[in-house]
């Protein structure tokens, strides 16, 4: 499948751009309220974009997984009422592909804006995993992304899926347990710089990771993500509209690529490769970018191997060197290619479908130059965002770049 360039470029008036982001801290916050968090995070993103709710004509919802009832509230336009947009809002609907939803939400919002079906889109997410009943969530996660006829009877669950990928990856690349654990330590270093991260103030070492109990061999407990409450939001509009509102710094989408490589983990032809190389090739072909063109990357990271496989497919390092690449410190604070600068899902907290959204929002925040000073990477102009969902069924790549008044800065 050939990748054609996008129909818009940095000089197109209808070029879709990010203009604001919002986030609430991730972790365990039983005192917070689902609809309240959605409201507050939306208002934060709008304030960041110097907008009010009535500037929005379309709301896209990124699903929560803690409750079907709360998810139904999102689907059936509750936020239109909560934000005072009854009769004003054109459309409100959910986009859902599990962990890769954020990438697909950007594609949907971009398409709506570029084609004229929407002018300004508010994308909202909130998850209450940290405060939900853990046993209930484990059961739910043992059914999502797993074919009930064929794999359900084996007793497969989410950590086991991560473990199957990790085992094959370690075998294929001869990566050591220390190499894999060092990825978690890199993320924890970033989390120390993020006030929204669940594990800020809780440093981690390779020894501590490997001393934690084995839960799904070869994965230790501290190599598995912790379910968290959290909320993120972002605002996209057209370059022309951003300019008309006097917004001089935006982030545009230079291209995207994707590859759905399986549905069932048992049907993935190569658990040490997944769809990353194909997705990256499609994204690079569409944009003219290569792996050397970005200064930072934000890549889905429920388990180390998911991300080490991704950086190999994206061409950040030689095939087979992903875990050792992270272990070298290149993606750490101060490294040559900082990755997952919010601490990622493993250290900022796994907020369900929103974990990937938080990484996306962090990429946009860095490009807008609005991260806290100790975390802001200097001179960031381009960011590679990677997402994946379900049983790592797909690999999704978004290429984002900073623009000033509709032109590349």
């Amino acid at each position: 499948m050939d990748a054609r360039p996008l129909n818009v470029d940095a000089n197109s008036p209808n070029d879709p751009v990010f203009i604001g982001v919002g986030e609430l801290p991730s972790g365990r916050y039983p005192e917070r309220n689902f609809i309240g968090d959605l409201t507050h995070v939306g208002l934060r993103a709008l304030a960041d974009a110097r907008m009010v709710p009535r500037d929005v004509d379309t709301i896209l919802l990124i699903p929560c997984l803690h409750s079907a009832v709360d998810q139904a509230d999102m689907i059936f336009s509750r936020m239109a009422e909560e934000l005072g947009l009854i009769g004003h809002l054109k459309s409100s609907f959910m986009v859902h592909s599990g962990g890769s939803t954020s990438d697909n939400a950007v594609r949907v919002a971009s398409g709506l804006i570029a084609s004229g079906h929407a002018r300004t889109v508010l994308v909202l997410h909130c998850e209450r995993w940290g405060s939900a009943d853990l046993a209930e969530m484990v059961t739910m996660l043992s059914k999502n992304g797993i074919p009930n006829e064929w794999e359900g009877p084996t007793g497969l669950q989410f950590n086991a899926i991560g473990a199957l990928i990790t085992r094959r990856y370690m075998h294929a690349t001869q990566s050591s347990a220390e190499d894999m654990a060092s990825f978690c330590v890199t993320l924890r270093k970033w989390a120390q710089l993020n006030p929204n991260a669940m594990y800020r103030g809780k440093p981690l070492t390779v020894e501590k990771v490997l001393a934690s109990k084995l839960v799904a061999e070869p994965l230790h407990a501290l190599e598995c993500p912790m379910l968290a409450d959290g909320a993120v939001a972002f605002v996209m509009t057209s370059a022309e509209h951003a300019k008309a509102r006097g917004i001089d710094v935006t982030v545009r989408v230079a291209g995207s690529g994707g590859c759905v490589s399986h549905y069932s983990v048992g049907q993935e032809p190569d658990l040490a490769a997944l769809g990353w190389a194909t997705a990256a090739k499609r994204a690079y072909e569409q944009s003219g970018w290569g792996p050397q063109d970005a200064q930072i990357a934000q890549i889905y990271d429920t388990y180390a191997a998911v991300t080490t496989i991704a950086v190999e497919g994206l061409g950040f390092c030689a095939p087979g060197d992903g875990a050792r690449w992270f272990a070298s410190g290149v993606a750490d604070p101060g490294g040559k290619l900082p990755c997952n600068t919010n601490g990622g899902m493993l250290s900022a907290g796994h907020t369900g479908v929103g974990g990937g959204t938080a990484l996306l929002v962090e990429g946009v925040r860095q490009l807008l130059g609005r991260a806290e000073p100790e975390r802001q990477v200097a001179g960031v102009r381009r960011c590679i965002v990677g997402g994946t969902g379900g049983s790592y069924m797909d690999a999704q790549v978004l290429l984002l770049e900073r623009c000033a008044t509709g032109r590349k800065s």
């Binding site: 046993a135 484990v138 059961t139 043992s142 059914k143 074919p147 006829e149 064929w150 794999e151 009877p153 084996t154 007793g155 497969l156 669950q157 950590n159 086991a160 473990a163 199957l164 990928i165 085992r167 094959r168 075998h171 294929a172 109990k213 084995l214 839960v215 799904a216 061999e217 070869p218 994965l219 407990a221 069932s264 983990v265 048992g266 049907q267 993935e268 032809p269 658990l271």
Partner: protein, 133 residues
Amino acid sequence: MTNLIRDEFRAGLARGDLLLQRCNDCGKLNMYPRHACPHCQSPSLGWQKSAGLGVLHSFTVLRAGAPEGFESDLPYALGVIKLEEGVQLLGRLLPDPDGDWHSYRCDDRMQFKAASPESAAHRPCAWFARLAV
């Protein structure tokens, strides 16, 4: 919900057979079984018995966090088997004589093991073990 394809596959397991779906038109094998052939879209699909031999692509031993109904199975091992017929599936792995799975390695040669009808009814999945060398 009626699911004839699932029921026929499980009836095979209960008889001690690992069945692979075979397209009656293009002759290709489909795993997991489909409702139309993904290669030629034919709705005419049948079954063939697998020789049960393959290679272990990956595996894990789950020691905590079993799904509801699997708590008493812990610990248990899951593996992705690439069969010699060219299709693959997720199955359960039989333990070593000491009750653990320490002998298993990626790329080990594997063999399907028929389960008892009671086991096949309780856990309708394919069981595999390392091929004795």
